[in-house]
Amino acid sequence: MWSDYLQLIKAEGLVAIIMFILLFLKLGKKERNTESLLHFINVLLVINFISGFFFNAEGTLFGDMFQTNSLLSLEKNILNLGTLIISLQSFQWLKGHKHILEFYMLLLSTLLGMFFMISSNNLLMFYLGLELSTIPLAALANFDLEKRTSSEAAMKLILSSAFSSGLLLFGISMLYGATGTLNYQELSQQLTGTPLQILSFVMFAAGFGFKFSAVPFHLWTADVYEGSPVAVTSYLSVISKGAILFVFVSVLYRVFQNISVVWYNLLFILSVLTMFIGNLFALRQQNMKRFLAFSSVAQVGFILIGITGQSAAGSASVIYFILIYIFSNLGAFGVVSLVSAVTGKETVNDYKGFYKNNRMLSWVLAISLFSLAGIPPTAGFFGKFFLLLAGAGKTSSSGWQLNYILITIAALNMVISLYYYLRIIKAIFMDKNDNPVEKVKSTFSPNLSFIICVAGILVTGFASSAYDYIFSLVK
């Protein structure tokens, strides 16, 4: 009884335990060697990640407010991996920082929130997870306490997230009013597609859109990404985005299946807007973080296309892409964070002639960018291909073939996005620079993270087994 009870909330439990360990450390004696502490934490996260593969059970808890199965535990583990990589990469930055433990506690609490969100089987549980994963992030965004931009970013994040959650809640409340239940299964039977329900659904979706920054709900993204510390930025752009997308997919397919026509059209508009706006803004960014922020906005547009596919292939390709996206985006962010931690240089112009002194980092960055741009043989190519393929597979109800129009637009957007990725490549490899970034010496943990990222980028694509596994879980 207890054993399987624990087994069901194993992932959440582990994260909570780690948090408690850190808490005790905090209560313990003050002076501590930061490096060894960081290594210790990383070891814990590695354990957490590895154990994520074992003892995964299926079932529901708390009067089926909470549910878990192998797919969900896989999704959680993907997030674990991402968190691990980020913590490895932020080594350089945290080394000098006083509040390591706070940082990790906030980080892990958001992770915990995401786990609950993913496992939620009830709007209440979902809301709790959402807030738990949002509010600490605002605090994290402000983690460079004395940096003006950092606090501004935090302010923007907390205000807009509160606003969006207000709207989300309003939507939920109307949904509740219309159907009288908060449970997913009952909800999905109750939905008939009355205008009220649709309006509430749109508000609900807007809440999601805010989190994974779909245009026009994305405006906070760039500012927050730019202002907050790089580790937090990469966390925002990868982990929280990935988590909310996991939830979005499952909610759409499981709860709102009845009104799929509605959300197909909604997603159509959203994805087209997101791709165009994201790309057009990314075109002219000079700050690397801001640039990556907009590029990640554009990526969401492609993911939404995959979601419109609305089938096993659809959700499988989305999860697969997010896995790849974690590798690619973290590879890029890792280099950026390392460089900014060591030299404080963050603009594109600083990267001119980067290759001269930093061969290894340049290739890591280049490969990650190629993967983001969807260029073979990197995994990004496969991910994008499958997303668009899933999108094309959906035969739209309306007379003219929206799905092909959609992927045509997407394909052309890929060309635009290629331009700005190549812009960075050009800066790294081709442009002249009299005083390029000097040799950035990287330590063990960042290198490990780079190895993980590059290996992931290069292997995940060719090794079809990953995709097949996800597909088998989704079916």
Partner: protein, 104 residues
């Protein structure tokens, strides 16, 4: 016992909601904006309670939701105010118009 028709209450809550939004759009002071958001949340609370009481009196999940919202709102406010204080440290102002370094 319930002489008040549901529509009245919903009108109040909706009004409250839009007042909140209006405040969010117009107020320059961060604290006031936060309060506006609280108004929105409260309108949501009213919604939940009313729907629960009038339409689906069988279960109590609306009420529970309300309680949770109140709790979380508190937490949110706490963090927000902390951030605002820190912002004030850096900017010597809590006017939202002053914190616009990050743009375009």
């Amino acid at each position: 016992m319930n002489g008040i028709p549901i529509s009245h209450i919903l009108f109040v809550s909706t009004a409250l909601f839009f007042i909140g939004i209006y405040g969010m759009f117009t107020r320059r002071n961060l604290i006031t904006m936060l309060m506006a958001i609280e108004l929105m949340l409260n309108s949501v609370n009213i919604n939940f309670v009313v729907f629960n009481k009038y339409l689906w009196p069988g279960k109590l999940d609306g009420v529970f939701f309300t309680i949770f919202i109140i709790t979380i709102a508190a937490a949110e406010a706490a963090v927000a105010i902390a951030i605002i204080i820190n912002l004030y440290r850096n900017h010597q102002s809590i006017d939202v118009e002053d914190a616009v370094e990050l743009k375009h």
